[in-house]
Symmetry: C2
Subunit: 163 residues, 2 copies
Amino acid sequence: MHQLNLRKARPEDASAVWEIIEPIIRAGETYVFSPDTPREKMLDYWLGADKDTYVAVLDGEILGTFYLKANQPDRGSHVANAGYMVGEKARGKGIAKAMAEFSFVEAKRLGYTAMQFNYVISSNTVAVQLWQKMGFKIVGQVPDAFAHPGLGLTDVYVMYRKL
Amino acid sequence: MHQLNLRKARPEDASAVWEIIEPIIRAGETYVFSPDTPREKMLDYWLGADKDTYVAVLDGEILGTFYLKANQPDRGSHVANAGYMVGEKARGKGIAKAMAEFSFVEAKRLGYTAMQFNYVISSNTVAVQLWQKMGFKIVGQVPDAFAHPGLGLTDVYVMYRKL
């Protein structure tokens, strides 16, 4: 059996979602969140009522998660924002790509007509290249917006694609 | 007497702040907020605990308001975000410029090292030109991000300057 199930996150997924998020924010190189962000605060954010949050379940195990939300209220609410995380042991298996493709489908279903990332850290070349392959363009570059633990102040990209 | 006082907003300023905000969001051409956003919701946003909010008081009358906040949490919290509104009867008097200059001083005092606007509507040429004169550069352009009531989908600029 080898089965990937992409579905809405449920309250009982919280521990598995945290197991994915924790090492990523502890490393502190790819997301804005402080390495010592408490579990409760992080899960309140990731699973917040302003978001549609999903999990990627491979053979019964939650290995990835993403959320969709409006990037702006009201007159800007047709543009989705999203965040994605893949567990360490699931890297390189195409989980991220599958989640991304499914997120586009879901975002369209929810009525969004485009997707915007506000904070893709320029040193995270794996992510930048993945998003470019998936149709995103760099539409903005903010100097020194991320305090990288190793590289110091690092530029951040705004990336965008139509849905 | 002709005196401009720039100071932190107080709870008792709420009505005067709403009088500035209401016609601007009702027009719906320069801010993302829906024209029918209720007073309570809008003031909760503008005077929210995540922000430092100020008023510009000319000869005892509140004619402008702005807020400062971190544009991102944690590893991005050295970059300020800000929003500015000037009452209709105060336009063309330099209140916006004075507020802007003071906001840079305050932002530095609060520890920010740069300022970023995420959502300057490209058709709002008065604002775009003012910010450019005040040292901001357009560092990003998001296609069709604003549903303009007259022009339809309109690009939005990301603007940035060091402090």
